[in-house]
Amino acid sequence: MKRYFLRRLIQMVVVLIGISIISFLIMHLAPGDPVDIMAERNATPEQKAHIRELYGLNEPLPVQYFNWVGRVLKGDLGTSFVTGRPVLEMILERLPATLILNFWAMIVIYLIAIPVGMISALKQYSWFDHVVTTVAFFGRALPQFWFALMLIYFVGLRFSGVQISGMSTWGVEWGVQPFFTVLQDRFSHMILPLIVLAFSGMAGIARYMRASMLDVVHQDYVRTARAKGLPEKKVVIGHAFRNALLPIVTLIGFELPILFSGAVIIETIFSWPGIGLLAVNAISQQDYMIVMAFNLLGATMTVIGMFLADILYVVVDPRIKLD
């Protein structure tokens, strides 16, 4: 266990270094000289050279890379070309909106997908199972943005209680208006993006749960439990379900990056003021500092998430033996 942990840890560090190099190189390939953006329009060549020296842009590439990594490790992700504000500050400001949306999406996904997957497995090849499998198949082919637009057209534009843009009505705030007015306002904004995210996330988890449950119900100890004469309910809940949940727990590791980057397109469509919207705007404005920060953070979260998933997998299931 200890050796496995160490080996995975070393692998993770190697991958993280690689990611930082790729990010740095992409940033370096970005068109346009950053000096032109930082300097005033009528700056003299001397002034430009001064800026170049000031920011270390005339150093050899490896030196620039190490300087950059040093700054990143201290939490300095650079300054936005467009707003002139620290990138980290801009991201942290937008993070809560994204986290709230994805948090609720995750709750809805797991609350529905786990029982659905379980019933699907217990009643394998029943009409319920067929419907679930077909819907999951359709979900995989459905363009997320189109689904969102169709919801806007068929629901959002027809029902006044449903909002299609933003996260709250201006002026409606906690503590100012009555509790339920604010709650209703927030809910009316979140419902459509939530449906889209939940629907596209559910298919995978339900299929996974189904497979995991099928795996478990055919095992000897479940048959033994039945043979002992335990009521079916106890066999399913107490014996099968608990073990079928184990692989699902490890999926939490994979949710980490999704929390961060899962809603890029959805935020754009519903003007949800999260980091996805910030990122897409940064791309269209060619604000590469933000773009790079987003890539770097997203990739880092994925690596940490995969690491956690692997470790959790071994921790929650003592049957797994490592070489």
Binding site: G18, F137, V264, S284, N295, A299, T302
Partner: protein, 292 residues
């Protein structure tokens, strides 16, 4: 049911492998319908210049955002271009992006997976760490970033989508190769003095062909979706239009001309679904050991 299973797994002496695959594929009704649908879309895409009644950028000033009529059977878009024509051209672009991107992705994925799995050791370590690096970046974001760095042409979009989506296949092929390397018949081939190249192609690659073909089919759908997302965010292919581009051009006019958004979306959805069903059918048909 029992009889069906028997015919499914029956080995007939008088048929070739391909004949067997086709016989089994036909059993999957949805896959068969999907195949016909894709062939239809494919023919339309190839014949686009012949069957489109107007030019894809031709503007009809009299009919701006008009609904379906005898002149424009699927209506016109916000500057009066014929929707039917644009959708036909969209099929050409979306389908070719899907096919070429899938080809790129499968080639790179198979190559990296095969090399890593065949040689193992340090080479495997390096290639797999590299694969993990690439797959760590959020796909949509990596796509958006690279597309802003290169010149935006149909070819570049194909290449970028292909080069960001090979990681899953590479890992799978590597796993298969690692397992096959230890198998008895590869050992036998080696003992008989077969060259490395013959072992790799004849004994290992051919044995992975089934999952590679299935993955390639699914990849076409994924690539079409990726292209449409890019175009939807305004960073894809503009002219001739892809389905995603047409969809994007209608999104602010949904209230007045919903068909501009609904039709291309339906086509993307249907085409991707069809490729997924074909992949599903192929998975069942290609594997001679599979029991149903």
């Amino acid at each position: 049911m029992a009889q069906q299973t028997a015919t499914m797994n029956e080995i007939r002496a008088d048929e070739t492998y391909l004949q067997m695959v086709w016989r089994r594929f036909k059993k999957h009704k949805l896959a068969l319908i999907s195949l016909m649908f894709i062939i239809l879309i494919g023919v339309i895409a190839i014949l686009a210049p012949l069957i489109s009644p107007y030019g894809y950028d031709q503007i009809d000033r009299e009919n701006i955002m008009s609904g379906p009529s005898s002149e424009h059977i699927l209506g016109t878009d916000r500057i009066g271009r014929d929707m039917f024509t644009r959708l036909v051209w969209g099929a050409r672009i979306s389908l070719s992006v899907g096919l070429v991107a899938a080809l790129v992705s499968v080639t790179v994925g198979t190559l990296i997976g095969a090399v890593a799995g065949f040689f193992g050791g340090v080479i495997d370590d390096i290639l797999m760490r590299f694969t993990e690096m690439v797959m760590s970046f959020p796909v949509i974001f990596l796509l958006l970033t690279i597309v802003t760095l290169v010149e935006r042409s149909v070819f570049n979009v194909m290449l970028v989508i292909g080069l960001t989506s090979w990681t899953g296949l590479a890992r799978m092929v590597r796993g298969q190769f690692l397992a096959l390397r230890e198998s008895d018949y590869v050992e036998a081939a080696r003992a008989l003095g077969a060259k490395n190249s013959r072992i790799v192609i004849r004994h290992m690659l051919l044995n992975c062909m089934a999952p590679i073909i299935v993955s390639a089919t699914l990849q076409v759908g994924t690539a079409i979706l990726a292209e449409s997302s890019l175009s939807f965010l305004g960073l894809g292919i503009t002219s001739p239009p892809s389905w995603g581009t047409i969809l994007n051009s209608g999104r602010y006019y949904m209230r007045y001309a919903p068909w501009i958004t609904i039709l291309p979306g339906l086509l993307i959805f249907g085409t991707v679904l069809a490729f997924n069903y074909i992949g599903d059918g192929l998975r069942d048909a290609l594997d001679p050991y599979l029991k149903r």
